[in-house]
Symmetry: C2
DNA sequence: ACAAAAGTGTTTGACATACACCCATGC
DNA sequence: GCATGGGTGTATGTCAAACACTTTTGT
């Protein structure tokens, strides 16, 4: 028995250059105390009326991550935001047009910074927990990305990317409760974040609330980056 | 500005079906108290004498995971072993033959069960920590897979897949020390595993050691599966 | 008897959990 | 003054870390 191997035998490859690669972006936002995701209405007849992730075919001259950032930029106008590759999805019949393998990314954006392009009125933010059906295998992709985010957010303070620069501890807690779908104890939550020591007290307060205003903080990104570099052994 | 989107606009896709998808398997084994990985010598002129992961082009009629299992089976004769997708690698020039996106998997095998095929004398087990250079971007892929394994092994007891059915606690500890590249306290390690309660005492002992023989255990896979199902909400 | 590794318990500190009251503001 | 959420501390349990001596076997 002879085993073909792309890494050792080149000649036979050309027959195989027939697949398409796409990227699909799970763009998370946070608003009204809910985790949201940006979706577009599919206009494929196969998925009429269903919602779809934002994706595109990867161009021949860009690498995968570049394609994912391009999709994000084209749809939200944002650049340089938090993004992480999750995994590839490649079921044989996942796309009606042929064999399309998609690489899923999720990104965390400040929903206030997103200005939906005027030509994109078919774009909408959806509460993640209310989503029932989606086009393609996008429900599965969304589920996998959400799980990854849940894991990530308890390991590293990436949640700040979903918040405005200035935020109260209540907002931060609401965020974590929305992502993890749990209720958290307020005092213990505060203790944990103060102990982490990534919060900078801005000596400002909430405005226009009809109760005692909360103090505002910002995330100490520089300190986090520095400490994280260290832990990576640089 | 108009944004092409594979999920909504089909007509333009055909131009893009020109990429190849491959799978690359990081096949981990454990022997002589070292974490090993199964590699093949590359015979591409570009990578003469360099070592390469085991991979192959995905066939048009199989999904990605099937392709990965096929590579594993063809190279090791093994089936149904532990495997996990890690992520896609798709740098523009990562493959000399053209645009090849590869999906990386790692798998954990009992190295004693692997019978290297006779036609595969170019296959060798390498100690992970001794590997310097590899063909393609395989060093990066290996590194990413190792990190994923390190994460996984502290969350779930997947390490058993690397050991013989019967093992001593010393072997188990050596395994964890090799994977995580740390020294562990023997008493705390034993405590932790006994507390997990996934070890079945076989009432057998090591043979032919020139010191007090250790007791042998096996992993209670059924119990683990049952508890894990529960935690997934089934 | 000696070498070599197996086996075992206790103490300590750190961290997560649970829980209730006073405070500042707008109305 | 009342409704609303902001802000705080303590007690308890759980878990990880540190640490040294006895036991069993082969030679």
């Amino acid at each position: 028995m002879y085993t073909k191997n792309i890494n050792t035998h080149l000649i036979e490859i050309q027959d195989y250059f027939k697949a398409a690669i796409s990227v699909d972006c799970v763009i998370f936002g946070f608003d009204e105390n809910e985790l949201k995701v940006l979706l577009i209405e599919s206009d494929l007849k196969e998925f009429k009326g269903k919602w779809s992730l934002l994706g595109d075919i990867m161009h021949p001259d860009e690498d995968i991550e570049t394609a994912a950032y391009r999709v994000l930029r084209e749809r939200t106008g944002l650049d340089g935001v938090y993004m992480e590759q999750v995994q590839a999805f490649g079921g044989i019949n996942r796309h009606p047009a042929g064999r399309v393998i998609t690489i899923a990314y999720y990104s965390l954006v400040n929903i206030q910074h997103v200005e939906l392009k005027t030509h994109s009125n078919e774009l909408h933010w959806h509460a993640v927990k209310d989503i029932r059906q989606m086009a393609f295998d996008h429900k599965e992709i969304l589920g996998t990305c959400l799980e990854r985010l849940q894991h990530k957010v308890i390991e590293q303070p990436v949640g700040f990317n979903l918040l405005p620069k200035k935020f109260s501890l209540r907002e931060l807690q609401n965020l974590y409760e929305a992502i993890l779908d749990v209720k958290l104890d307020r005092r213990n939550f505060r203790k944990k974040f103060f102990a982490m020591d990534y919060l900078i007290d801005l000596n400002e307060e909430e405005q226009e609330v009809r109760h005692r205003p909360a103090k505002l903080y910002k995330f100490n990104q520089e300190k986090f980056d520095k400490q994280h570099k260290k832990s990576l052994g640089f």
